[in-house]
Every structure is written in structure tokens, then in C-alpha cells.
């Protein structure tokens, strides 16, 4: 087992730079989730850790050694690919044992290790099948089996669940997490699914355009997003943003049209003129004494009710656990909980403390 250190990692394809200096310390045994929108460089970063992609600058350390020039097969890592990449002409057992065979492990030991890994994942009955004879979920499991069989220091996953149906995805997500709790192997997991990120990660790394936006535990990121991008990326339904300005003699109120929301003390000092107010849907409540807004649509999801409404030309979403109906076009009163608001700089998007 080993930690992973990334120091100023850069990647360019020709003149196009796609990763701009990433620094990250992953401690031994940690489950790190890389998350971000499509094309932000998650896979590229993961593949550089794996050694499948050369790095254009910086240093990668796995455990005590720098692996910049170490071949993928010698980095003591295992990777689960999005399409699983099972060898089609080999049986499940041969797929799982291939890395051991390449390391000249004696045949009897290969057999034993493959059986042990198969038992962990419930693959015992599939060992003699070929990949084409397996369902998508079984293939995914074999790909994981192939990764755990040789007990590497680091697991790398690149969107391993994206080819599964919704139910299986949830189930497998739980299993991967349980597997990690059992094996405690350092894991770097790429996904663009924020639910996976929130539920699985010890720490989440949010990436955007080849840069790290924020690193932290899921709740840290959820409760104190460092900037508007992170705030909008994590959480479903997404955080509401209101463009507005500061008002009141001391700038202690957020002014939206002809409504004003009091800000927590201390915020106004650092506040520039143009600010964005962020509120999560669950922190907006329906209250007859609140600010009246026009209802656009009411969507019951069963466990909660989501209301989209319009206020001063801006739409926002509120989510609540009580059931409620209101016809589109009607007016409801809404109240924002001042303790749970986020302020961001209107220009840079950075959080204003």
C-alpha cells in the first residue's frame, strides 16, 4: 500500500494544454474521487498516474518512489476501465490470473489467488466463462476481480459504473465502498456522477478545465464550496444563484430587486460591489410571510417536492419534504434561511467568507 503525490502535473497535446499544474497528496488507504464536467481532464490525470499517458511536466510519486519514468506494469497499480477491457479470448479465470502469469507466479499460486479474489466478488461460478458470455454487471465484477487479484498498492477506476443500469450502479457502488473498507487500498476513482462522488469519497477533488477547483471531504465541499463552480457542481437539484448587490448603510444586506436579505455579520467588510448569492434548494422554505414569487412548476418526486419559481426575472428551485400543490402562475411566499447562504464574488466567483 502506498500514498500518491502529484506535484505540478501538466499535460499538453501538441500546443493544447489540458492539465494545468495539478498538486495533490493522496494518503495511504484513502478513497479519492476525481469529479468534474466532461473534458475537464479527469481521465487524463488518472491515466498519467497509471503511466498510460506521458506527463508533460511535474512529478508523480507512488509510495516512496518517483514513477515518472516507470512503466505502467511496474508501478504496482491496477486499473478498472470504463469498458472493462477484458481480454475476449481468455476465460474469467485467465483474465484474472493474467497479471500474475506475467509476473511468473507459479501456476498453483495463481489458481489459489484467483479463487480467493473470485470468492470476494462472488465470481466462483463464472471462472470458466468467456467475457462474451457474461452480463454487463458480471463483466464489471470480473474487471474488479482482475484488479484486486494481485493486491496492488493503488486502484484506479475510470467511470467503472457508467455502463450499468441505475439499480445495478447503486448496488455496485455500495460494494466497491465495502471492498475498500475491507482492503483499505489507496483508490483514485474518476466519475462525473456527483452522487457517486458524495457517497464514496473520503475526499473529493473537483476539477474544471484541467485545474483543481477544490479538495475536501464531501460535506466540506457541500457546506463550504470554495467558489461558484464547486457550489453549482455538487448538489442536486443544483444550488440557486441570485445576481444582486449589497445594500444598507454598512453593506450588510443582499438586495434583490426590492427585497433585501440580511447577511451574517462580518461578510460585508470583504464584500465587493457585485456579488452572487447562492442558496441550496433545501434552504429555501415556503412561508406565507416570505417574499412572494410566481410558481413556474411544482414537481413531486415522492420523497420531496421541488418547486421552481420566478423572482425578479430570475428562476430558482426550492426543495422540501412536505407535500404541496400550487398551480403554475400562482404566487407563494418563500423565505431564505440566512444561516445557510453562500456569497461569491461576482467577477471571480470566489467564495466571500
Amino acid at each position: 500500500m502506498a500514498g500518491v503525490e502529484l506535484r505540478g502535473i501538466r499535460k499538453s497535446y501538441g500546443h493544447l494544454q489540458v492539465v494545468h499544474g495539478v498538486d495533490l497528496d493522496i494518503t495511504d488507504g484513502e478513497f479519492i474521487v476525481l469529479v468534474g464536467p466532461s473534458g475537464c481532464g479527469k481521465s487524463t490525470l488518472l491515466r498519467m498516474i497509471a503511466g498510460l499517458e506521458s506527463i508533460s511536466g511535474g512529478e508523480i510519486r507512488i509510495g516512496p518512489r518517483t514513477v515518472n519514468d516507470v512503466l505502467p506494469g511496474d508501478r504496482d497499480i491496477a486499473m478498472v476501465f470504463q469498458n472493462y477491457a477484458l481480454y475476449p479470448q481468455m476465460t474469467v479465470a485467465q483474465n484474472m490470473g493474467f497479471s500474475l502469469k506475467m509476473r511468473r507466479v507459479p501456476h498453483a499460486d495463481i489458481l489459489r489467488q484467483v479463487r480467493e479474489a473470485a470468492a470476494i466478488l462472488g465470481l466462483q461460478d463464472l471462472l470458466d466463462r468467456y467475457p462474451r458470455q457474461l452480463s454487463g454487471g458480471q463483466r464489471q465484477r470480473v474487471a474488479m476481480g482482475r484488479a484486486i487479484v494481485r493486491n496492488p498498492s493503488v486502484f484506479l477506476f475510470d467511470e467503472p459504473l457508467s455502463n450499468l443500469d441505475a439499480k445495478l450502479r447503486v448496488q455496485t457502488r455500495v460494494e466497491i465502498k465495502a471492498l475498500h473498507q475491507r482492503l483499505r487500498t489507496t483508490t483514485v476513482y474518476v466519475t462525473h456522477d456527483q452522487v457517486e462522488a458524495m457517497t464514496m469519497a473520503d475526499r473529493i477533488v473537483v476539477m474544471h478545465d484541467g485545474r483543481i477547483e477544490q479538495v475536501g471531504t464531501p460535506l466540506e465541499l457541500y457546506d463550504r464550496p470554495a467558489n461558484r463552480f464547486v457550489a453549482g457542481f455538487l448538489g442536486s437539484p443544483a444550488m440557486n444563484f441570485f445576481d444582486g448587490g449589497l445594500g444598507g448603510a454598512d453593506g450588510s444586506r443582499f438586495v434583490l430587486g426590492n427585497h433585501a436579505i440580511p447577511l451574517p455579520a462580518g461578510a460585508e467588510r470583504a464584500a465587493p460591489r457585485s456579488v452572487v448569492l447562492g442558496v441550496r434548494p433545501e434552504h429555501i422554505v415556503v412561508d406565507a410571510q416570505g417574499v412572494p414569487a410566481e410558481v413556474v412548476v411544482v414537481e413531486p418526486t415522492g420523497s420531496e417536492t421541488q418547486i421552481t419559481a420566478r423572482l425578479g426575472g430570475q428562476t430558482f428551485t426550492a426543495a422540501m419534504h412536505k407535500r404541496l400543490t400550487a398551480p403554475p402562475g400562482s404566487t407563494l411566499g418563500f423565505r431564505i434561511d440566512p444561516a445557510n447562504i453562500h456569497l461569491f464574488d461576482g467577477e471571480t466567483g470566489a467564495r466571500i467568507p
Binding site: 469498458n83 477491457a85 497479471s99 506475467m102
Partner: protein
């Protein structure tokens, strides 16, 4: 949408017609004619035709020269298939890597160009290269203080010389096909192999080769079928000689039909050739299917 002029079915036949008529005139009719001829005897002075039954077939099967041609052809096939498919695969593996596009195009063209030139033309050039006294091959051998080789007149060497020409001419074709197959291998499979610690050779042996095996087997079958039909190069380089050392099945057939002007015997030989092609293809297909199924 319905055609305003004719039914869909009729237009389908119309579109198929040119290809089908060509096939009819150039392949099916001649094949049936050959079958008919093989059962007859044509008097070459009066052009009188009489029914001969299995006489022609029996004559061919009891002709020692036919069996020489038969053996030669399969010797040729064994060497030419190994050379064409094997060397083609080796070249494909060497070319299947990151390289500037221009270099890749140049290499592909360089190896493929001989495929496009008529065999007869190529054979005439190689005849000059192979010439014992004036040929460039022996010139360089002598420069290296090696003895001259009687490329086309030594009965042990002549067949090898023909194979060398054949491989030079056709290897590009087999390279291109196998290169395309190699480039069709999903990248993640190779990457998984690298992560599993397999080296270049192991990745080829355990991942790439099994993946492209169906294509390699297709190449073997294709090379075998064309090998069974070898003719132009032999006719120009050695005329089947020295002695009958390089006579092939098609040459035998040609000589019987047009040299000895015995259309019946030539047709019978052609039919045996057809049977040989059918049997070889079937056997290779069976073996291939079993190998690929693994």
C-alpha cells in the same frame, strides 16, 4: 416511398443485373462448360465431339506429370503462404506504432505498390534479376565473395526463387490487411495488458494475436487459394522447368488444354483444381473455426 416507375423488387433486380450478368458470362458459364468438356473428347482436326465419360479424369489421375504438378503446387503453397502471411504479419507489427502520418503512408504505399503491378511485368523484371551470369543478385553475391546461385536453372532453387518473387509481390497486400486488423484492436485492451505487466512480445502473443486470429486465418485461406492458381510467374520465369521442377497445377492444365490441345483432359484437370480449392478452403475454415472459438 413507392417508386413511381417500377416496383421495388424490379428495381432491385435491375441493380443486381450488371454484376450477375458478368458473373454468369465470366464464371458460371465457363465453369459449366468446363464440366461439360471434361466429359468429352474433341477431335482436334475434325472438331468432332464424342462422349468420353470419366476417361479424361482417369487419364489425369494416372498421369505422373499431374502428380508432380500437384506436389509442386502444394510445396509452393506451403512456402508462399508462410512467407506472405508470416512476413506480412511481421511487417504489420513493425509498422503498427506511433509514427508521423507521412511516414506511415509512405511505408504502406511502398509495400503495397508491387501488388498493383501485373504479375507478368514483375516476372519479366525478376527474370533479369535472377539471371545466372548477368543478374544483379549474383553480382552482389560475388561482391560478397559468395558463389553464384543458379536461381532459375537449379531444380532445388527454382521453386524458392518463384516463392521469393511471389512474396515480394503479394506481401504488401497481406501486410495491409493484417495492419488494419491490428489497428482495430481496442486501445484499452493493450493498455490493460501493459498494466498487467506484459511486455511487447507478451502483448502480441497473448492479446493482439488471439484478437486478430480470424483475420490471419482468412489471409492463410486467401493465400492458399491464390497459391493453388499460381501460373504467370512460373510461366515467365522457368516455364515449369528445369525439367518439371516447377510445373504447377494450372500450368499442367494449360499445357494439356492449349499445348497438347486436349480440351477434355485440360478441363478434367481444371475440375480437380476446383475440387482441391474447395476441399482446402473447407478444411482451413473448419480448423479456423475451432481455433477462433477457443
Amino acid at each position: 416511398m413507392r417508386s413511381p416507375f417500377m416496383s421495388e423488387r424490379a428495381s432491385a433486380y435491375l441493380f443486381l443485373a450488371p454484376g450477375f450478368i458478368l458473373y454468369l458470362l465470366m464464371a458460371l458459364v465457363p465453369a459449366l462448360a468446363t464440366l461439360a468438356f471434361s466429359l468429352t473428347e474433341v477431335d482436334r482436326f475434325t472438331w468432332g465431339i464424342s462422349f468420353a465419360g470419366a476417361d479424361n479424369l482417369l487419364f489425369v489421375l494416372s498421369d505422373r506429370r499431374f502428380w508432380t504438378a500437384f506436389g509442386n503446387t502444394f510445396t509452393f503453397i506451403a512456402m508462399a503462404v508462410a512467407g506472405n502471411v508470416g512476413l506480412g504479419l511481421l511487417l504489420a507489427v513493425l509498422i503498427d506504432r506511433q509514427m508521423p502520418r507521412a511516414v506511415l503512408y509512405f511505408l504502406r504505399l511502398a509495400f503495397f505498390l508491387p501488388v498493383l503491378v501485373a504479375t507478368a511485368l514483375v516476372s519479366l523484371v525478376w527474370q533479369l534479376l535472377y539471371s545466372t551470369d548477368l543478374g544483379i543478385l549474383n553480382y552482389y553475391l560475388n561482391e560478397l565473395h559468395l558463389p553464384s546461385v543458379s536461381w532459375l536453372t537449379n531444380s532445388r532453387v527454382a521453386m524458392v526463387s518463384i516463392v521469393i518473387l511471389d512474396v515480394w509481390k503479394h506481401v504488401g497486400f497481406f501486410m495491409i490487411i493484417q495492419l488494419a486488423a491490428l489497428q482495430g484492436i481496442p486501445r484499452s485492451l493493450v493498455e490493460a495488458g501493459e498494466l498487467d505487466g506484459a511486455g511487447f512480445w507478451q502483448i502480441f502473443r497473448y492479446i493482439k494475436l488471439p484478437y486478430i486470429l480470424p483475420v490471419v486465418l482468412f489471409c492463410v485461406t486467401y493465400a492458399t487459394i491464390t497459391g493453388l492458381q499460381v501460373f504467370d510467374s512460373i510461366r515467365i520465369l522457368t516455364q515449369g522447368g528445369p525439367g518439371d521442377a516447377t510445373i504447377s497445377l494450372v500450368m499442367y492444365m494449360y499445357e494439356e488444354a492449349f499445348g497438347a490441345q486436349d480440351i477434355g483432359v485440360g478441363s478434367a484437370a481444371a475440375f480437380i483444381l476446383l475440387a482441391a480449392i474447395a476441399v482446402t478452403t473447407l478444411v482451413q475454415w473448419r480448423i479456423g473455426r475451432r481455433m477462433v472459438a477457443q
